[in-house]
C-alpha cells in the first residue's frame, strides 16, 4: 500500500509542476502549487506507516501553511489585478529584461 501511494504522489507532483510551467493564468498556477503541496502530503502520510505518527503531524502543519499561503497569495493576485486588469502572467513585465 505504501509503494502505490508514493507512485501516486509522484504522479500528482509531476502534474502540478507541469501545470505551473505551462499555464499563464496566475490563479491556476497557484492551484497547481496547491496540487504539489497535496502530493507531498500524501507522501508524508504514506511514510507515516513506516516512520511513525510524526508524518501525520507534519501534514497538519503543511495544511496550516497552505491556508496562510493561499490567503496571502490571493491578496497579492487581487492587488495585481487592480493595477493591470488581468491575471495573465505575460502582462507582468516590470521585472522582465
Amino acid at each position: 500500500m505504501i509503494t502505490p501511494a508514493l507512485v501516486l504522489s509522484a504522479i500528482i507532483f509531476v502534474l502540478g509542476t507541469f501545470g505551473v510551467l505551462v499555464r499563464r493564468n496566475a490563479i491556476i498556477m497557484f492551484l497547481c502549487i496547491e496540487l504539489q503541496l497535496n502530493a507531498v502530503n500524501l507522501a508524508f502520510v504514506a511514510f507515516s506507516r513506516m516512520v511513525g505518527i510524526e508524518g501525520q503531524v507534519f501534514v497538519f502543519f503543511v495544511m496550516t501553511v497552505a491556508a496562510a499561503e493561499a490567503a496571502v497569495g490571493l491578496a497579492i493576485i487581487i492587488s495585481i489585478f487592480r493595477h493591470y486588469e488581468t491575471v495573465n502572467v505575460n502582462n507582468f513585465n516590470l521585472l522582465k529584461w
Binding site: 500500500m1 502534474l15 505551462v22 490563479i27 513506516m50 501525520q56
Partner: protein, 173 residues
C-alpha cells in the same frame, strides 16, 4: 478490496489533476481540484489517517477552495475561456523538465524497492485504538511539537494581517 478502492481513488485523483492542468475555465479547473482533494482524502483514510482526511475535506476542499472560487468570482474571471497554455520552445522545455523529474522519481522509487509498513504502523494502530482518531495525532502535537504548534498560530496571525494590508484598496498615509 482495499486495494481496489485505492486504485479507484488513485485514478480519480490523477484524472482530476489532469483536469486542473488542462481545463479551459478557471472555475472548471477549481472543480477538478476539489475532485482530486476528495479522492486524496479517500487515500488518507485507507492509510489510517482519518483525522487528516476530515481536515482535508473541511479545510482544503471547504475553506481554501472556496477562497479561490471567491477570488475568481470577485475578479470576474469565470468567463475566461481562451487557451492560456504556453507554446513553442517554452512548452518543449517544460516537457523536458517534467520528464526529467518523472524519470528521477521513478528511478528512486525503483531503487528503494517495495516499502513495507514497519512496526510503527502497528504503533499507530494501537494509538488509534487507545486515544481515538483525534487523540492519536493530538498526543504528539501537544507534547513534542507544542512549540511549532504555537508558532503556527503566530504565522496565521501574520498571514491575516498581510492579506488585509495587501488587498485593501487605499492605504491612506
Amino acid at each position: 478490496m482495499i486495494d481496489i478502492l485505492f486504485y479507484i481513488f488513485a485514478a480519480v485523483a490523477v484524472g482530476g489533476a489532469l483536469g486542473v492542468v488542462l481545463a479551459k475555465s478557471p472555475v472548471g479547473s477549481l472543480l477538478f481540484m476539489v475532485t482530486t482533494l476528495a479522492s486524496l482524502a479517500g487515500t488518507f483514510v485507507l492509510l489510517e489517517a482519518h483525522f487528516l482526511a476530515a481536515i482535508q475535506i473541511i479545510v482544503y476542499a471547504g475553506a481554501i477552495m472556496v477562497l479561490f472560487l471567491f477570488v475568481i468570482m470577485l475578479l470576474n474571471l469565470g468567463h475566461d475561456y481562451q487557451r492560456d497554455l504556453r507554446g513553442g520552445a517554452y512548452a518543449i522545455l517544460s516537457f523536458v523538465v517534467v520528464g526529467l523529474m518523472a524519470g528521477l522519481l521513478a528511478r528512486q522509487i525503483g531503487i528503494s524497492g517495495g516499502f513495507e509498513p514497519g512496526e510503527e504502523a502497528a504503533a499507530i494502530d494501537a494509538a488509534l485504538l487507545e486515544h481515538g482518531v483525534v487523540g492519536a495525532i493530538a498526543q504528539p502535537l501537544y507534547t513534542t511539537y507544542v512549540v511549532p504548534f504555537e508558532i503556527t498560530g503566530i504565522l496565521l496571525l501574520v498571514a491575516i494581517v498581510g492579506a488585509i494590508v495587501l488587498a485593501k484598496r487605499n492605504v491612506n498615509p
